[in-house]
Symmetry: C2
DNA sequence: GCTATGGGTTACATAAAGGATACCATCCAA
DNA sequence: TTGGATGGTATCCTTTATGTAACCCATAGC
């Protein structure tokens, strides 16, 4: 099917698949924190508490979000043999595949803000 | 700032703005129904009950989602002078500005599914 | 008046997401 | 043996999102 539009010639099944794919993406980078954490991690490696402080997120939620991002191959978790141990989180090479998407979201957000505020 | 990465040289303030912009976008096209409705409306005009049936969404939620999409200029609502009156919803020309974003979401969803399932 | 159609709204209930706080475990150093 | 650093968990609670069912309003036909 045409990826840009779900036009009438497409079957219902094809249309459904199209937005299921969109839904998959939303499930993985949607929610309040995923893109915030990815944005922060674009700045380099962070330890658990550093991330918590940077994002102003509670440890419970941070822990959950990091697990989900790791499960989806977007970040890696490295335990360092220090005393006491420290854990570093960083983006994986695979996470680069999100660049276009994030860029598109950022661009549209700017376009839309211009439209709403009327400012250039 | 560099729109692709939030690197260390950027100030905290700039980083914050970057993900606030991402958040704006998520607020408008995120959630369970927005992209589903936009996808459906790419197929043409729909009346209220047609949309409800097509998306399998309850009238209460549909009403709310349509109002939000309309407020953001993405769809238009036209009352037709029929008996009883009917109301048509359709995408606005502005909604075309979302094409790149939706395309990027769709592409990444496919890429990611391939990675997860291992299938081509 | 009774019923049907189209476009919703209201009131209520449940599910999912997010947050605050305290706490646990380990290691080490004073 | 007490206390700080680090990486979390456990518990409880609030807020937001979504769902269900019934209902309201106008009009038209019978």
């Amino acid at each position: 099917m045409n990826k840009d539009r779900c036009l009438k010639p497409a079957t219902d099944e094809e249309c459904r698949k199209a937005w299921l794919t969109l839904k998959d993406t939303m499930d993985i980078v949607g929610g309040k924190w995923k893109l915030v954490l990815i944005s922060i991690l674009r700045g380099g490696k962070f330890k658990f508490r550093e991330l918590a402080k940077e994002a102003e997120i509670s440890p419970r939620i941070l822990s959950k979000e990091l697990k989900e991002l790791e499960m989806n191959g977007l970040i890696s978790r490295t335990v360092l043999d220090t005393r006491p141990i420290t854990v570093e989180y960083q983006l994986t090479p695979y996470s680069v595949s999100l660049n276009e998407l994030i860029s598109a979201m950022y661009d549209w957000g700017k376009i839309h803000r211009q439209k709403i505020t009327g400012k250039p």
